[in-house]
Amino acid sequence: MTEPSASGGKLAPTGELSLDYAPAPESIAPVRLASQYGLFVGGEMLEPVRERLAPTVNPATGEVLAEVSVADAADVDRAVAAARSAWEGGWRDLPGAERAKYLYRVARLLQERAREFAVLETMDGGKPIRESRDVDVPLAAAHFFYYAGWADKLDYAFSGRRAAPVGVAAQVIPWNFPLLMAAWKLAPALACGNTAVLKPAPTTPLTALLLTEVLRDAELPAGVVNIVTGDDATGAALVSHPGVDKVAFTGSTEAGRVIGAEVAGTGKRLTLELGGKAANIVFEDAALDQVTEGIVNGIYFNGGQVCCAGSRLLVQESVADAVVGKLRRRMDTLRVGDPLDKNTDIGAINSQAQLDRIAELVASGVAEGAELYSPPCELPDRGFFHPPALFTNVSTAHRIAREEIFGPVLSVLTFRTAAEAVAKANNTPYGLSAGIWTEKGSRILWMADQMQAGVVWANTFNRFDPASPFGGYRESGYGREGGRSGLLPYVGLVA
């Protein structure tokens, strides 16, 4: 008995029994797509202008799902004006308890139409339906529910100060959690009495556009939320618009630098949630089988297209072989493929451009001498897919140990002492998140103190909750979303 497992990537049949899981595709029946989408301004879906449309593609098939408007500066201007007029025309003066009721309605409508949103999210973005169904959409609803509750309690959030709304918020969100990021941005903004212009990512606009139906059914006053789809130029026009009082951006650190420079000197408030290169630190006394699950969840959740992904695994040398062995074995059971299949663990990469970037960094890892492991798995013959990847023999100087890959690629480094783990973990310009795995409570708390990171997970990873603040240190950005801290970017505190 040398090889205890007959388990292959697909649990291939041996003898008469096969544990082949059903292709269990989620029905796309609930989703009704238009062929073209206009902008959502002042409570109206505007007619799309044929010359200014861009396709949005299902990354699992390469098929065009719909054409979506690309807003230009004039469109942005209209949207900001609508937001301004809604703010001055009543939203800012509405009692908190009434603002709360609108947000509760949104939360409930999202819950009622959850499956529809989940399927659409998966179609447009490529993430596994298991995640959009169990994480993205329920959490989005929960965020609205949570911040609804703050709308009439702001006096208790900041003792000694009154929280006043800021005005019009310009919100630019990424493609990795499209609906959830919309909820993270809109819920606190609206709860605090601001109005918003939201710009979804070019590759994933559809759930934000579906959200307009929810806002309409919730009878949210016209102009309180405006949605302008478009490209980078649209985003630039929005954040630089003089009628905007507050800019909130989630995306890459490079784009964050540009926006920071753009906003500088304008008096606009700014919060940034940017990239990351999180260390996931495993001590020898940790619960190794749950560590394995935590590493997998940390780097392969949403195909690693997560700013807080645990992309650098730091393992204590005494258990490095054991952990890597367990990890490889677990990777062999990951299912890569149709994101709409309920058994799929890793879906499609969001776009060809992202797939190219991942491939380029993987190639650099091999070229720089790291050792690559990927389980044998068949990738679909169309769409954008990347197998889960694991690099060992990685040094802190390698590009794969320094740059954010934003894909299902894990770099493994080792350490001998806690101090060495701390030094390696903090040896990055980023500081979004970190993971600590040990059964020793005092070490968790000591390590947490040392981490230069905005979120520290101990014996778990990639947990999110509306009540828990999220955001980065250093070049991972500033400002927090979630919890009481998540109100601060959207209020002015007055005596």
Partner: protein, 312 residues
């Protein structure tokens, strides 16, 4: 971890038994993983095989004080041919009874592939004097039981007398001779997954051929997380020593869906090679009918009526 593989050195400390390392268990992570495995969907073409496997690994069990020869004979008849109307249904793995009734089962199952399993060793508490427990095991084997299900001495284990718990299993294994030894941990009494993992390692190192979750005699029964915890222990045992130990899940398993969940847990954790009667058993008294109902549903395409299946 190769330096930890000094098997045979009794070092029954908290984190190693006989040199085999015991890793701690995080309850939250374990339960999340188990729950995730229970959401897997099965292909309809695999369903038949999965249902048949559930029957082929079943230890059809009756452990009541009111058991009689007639009841055991009826159970054995079902064990040989679970569905009188459908000869394609395979026989179960074993019939599990009290020792007194083992000879009845041996006679009733003569000539079939169905094994006779007997509980012994002071089941279900395991607190009879050691001599009598060992005598009971020897008696059951002499009566023809090919498999013996005993309980871990939880009294010794929970009070930290690991050496005693270990030595008793070693002695039981000796008393078994060539019969297979299954050691019931009674996981519902152990209080924490760490303890379940520790008890699993202790029983395996002491010589258990199978480790088993529950007696079915207390409220707490087998759960997906317990099964996963024990499967992970078995995997570590195999990886660290090369020794193959089987897993028997028992207590509260009543539906084909539960049986399927356990197959997924074992298959994904230990590999398909574990999904055979030699390495995997489901102990149950009321599971068979639900499996047969699902099988009939697969055959006829309609949901079945419980009353149409045998009451034995």
């Amino acid at each position: 971890m190769s330096d930890l593989l000094a098997v045979g050195v009794p070092a029954h400390t908290a984190d190693a038994v006989a040199g085999v390392r015991i890793t701690p268990v995080d309850a939250v992570g374990l339960e999340q993983r188990a729950a995730a495995l229970c959401t897997r969907s099965i292909k309809s073409s695999s369903k038949q095989a999965a249902l048949d496997l559930a029957i082929r690994v079943m230890d059809l069990t009756t452990l009541e004080g009111a058991d009689t020869a007639a009841r055991v004979q009826a159970l054995c008849a079902r064990a040989r041919r679970p569905d009188a109307g459908d000869w394609s249904v395979p026989p179960v793995a074993a019939v599990c009874v009290y020792p007194e009734l083992a000879p009845v089962a041996v006679d009733a199952l003569a000539g079939s592939s169905v094994a006779v399993a007997s509980v012994a060793g002071g089941f279900p508490a395991g607190l009879a004097p050691l001599e009598s427990r060992l005598a009971e095991i020897a008696w059951a084997v002499a009566a023809g039981a090919g498999e013996v299900d005993i309980v871990l001495n939880r009294s010794a284990f929970l009070s930290g007398r690991y050496q005693q718990a270990y030595d008793e299993i070693v002695a039981a294994k000796q008393a078994c001779g060539s019969a297979h030894l299954k050691v019931i941990l009674e996981t519902g009494e152990l209080g924490a997954y760490d303890q379940i993992r520790r008890a699993s390692m202790l029983a395996m190192v002491a010589g258990a051929d199978f480790i088993k979750t529950s007696t079915g005699k207390i409220g707490a029964s087998s759960t997906p997380a317990t099964a996963l915890c024990m499967a992970e222990a078995i995997r570590d045992m195999a990886e660290q020593t090369g020794r193959v130990v089987g897993l028997k899940l028992a207590g509260g398993i009543r539906t084909a869906k539960q049986a399927w969940h356990y197959q997924v847990i074992v298959g994904e954790t230990l590999g398909l090679g574990w999904l055979t009667p030699e390495r995997f058993r489901l102990g149950a008294s009321s599971l068979l009918n639900d499996v047969l109902m699902q099988r009939a549903k697969l055959r006829d395409g309609r949901y079945q009526r419980r009353e149409d299946f045998s009451v034995d």
